[in-house]
Amino acid sequence: MNLKIEDNGGVVLLVVKEERLDAHNSDYLKQELGRLFEEGKTKIVVDLKEVRFIDSSGLGALVSGFKNASSRQAALKLSSLQSQVKSMFELTRLHRVFDIYTTVDEAIEAF
């Protein structure tokens, strides 16, 4: 899986550079989020701008990251959801769980 990870003034920006976030690649995202929290990072933005498709495994990886953050008093925010991805969050009601922002800048500024 292709991820771009950069530090943005204390906020870790993780850009998913894939068109699909599904059962084939979502475990890697879950592990990377786990690794970042293990390293002591407390502010993470996952940018989904390039993701056109997400399945239940992709949602599960993000939920895992959210729970991992909550248990460590850290925070995970999402940004730039495409319309079909947003629909999946709404169908599963996860849009009520995550802090979702229109742009990366808004997500970073929200910390």
């Binding site: 068109e19 699909r20 599904d22 059962a23 084939h24 498709f53 399945d55 239940s56 495994s57 949602l59 599960g60 990886a61 939920v63 895992s64 959210f66 729970k67 319309s83 079909q84 629909s87 999946m88 169908l91 599963t92 009601r93 996860l94 009520r96 769980v97």
Partner: protein
């Protein structure tokens, strides 16, 4: 085969790397359903999602992640109905006792269990039953 029916059968190894190929093909096929949806892109995405979920069930649960197994997908589009079938060769699983996140507050943050909920939400019917040499997960959606 009914008049004007499109039927596509695909056979791929029991590996998640083929999910995107099947997803792309199903979206292309959805483009043929021009008179069946107000939002063509949404319908294409829904077909992609439910086929992905059904395939992952077959690969991981029914066929127990055996990379040497095969899964077959059959997509049939008739005038008033879309039929999606995913065939496995494993021991199968009980669909009714399979984890199905009901989205109650307690379940909302489970990592797993959304696949069946998604299939049931987006299709009119979802069933799973034995056939010769394995099982089939069958999903139907009727058009107006």
């Amino acid at each position: 085969m009914k008049k004007n029916q499109i039927e596509l059968q695909i056979r791929v190894p029991n590996q998640t790397r083929y999910l995107s190929l099947i997803g792309r093909l199903s979206e292309e096929l959805a483009a043929q359903l021009q008179n069946h949806a107000d939002d063509q892109d949404a319908l294409a995405n829904q077909i992609n999602v439910v086929l992905t979920e059904a395939l992952v069930n077959a690969i991981r649960h029914a066929n127990a992640n055996d990379p040497d197994e095969m899964v077959e997908i059959k997509i049939s589009i008739a005038d008033k109905e879309l039929l999606l079938q995913v065939f496995d060769h494993g021991k199968g699983f009980d669909l009714d006792s399979a984890s199905d996140t009901s989205l109650d507050t307690d379940d909302e943050l489970e990592d797993h269990g959304r696949g069946l909920y998604i299939m049931r939400s987006l299709m009119d019917s979802v069933s799973y039953y034995p056939v010769k040499g394995g099982n089939v997960l069958e999903m139907r959606k009727k058009f107006q």
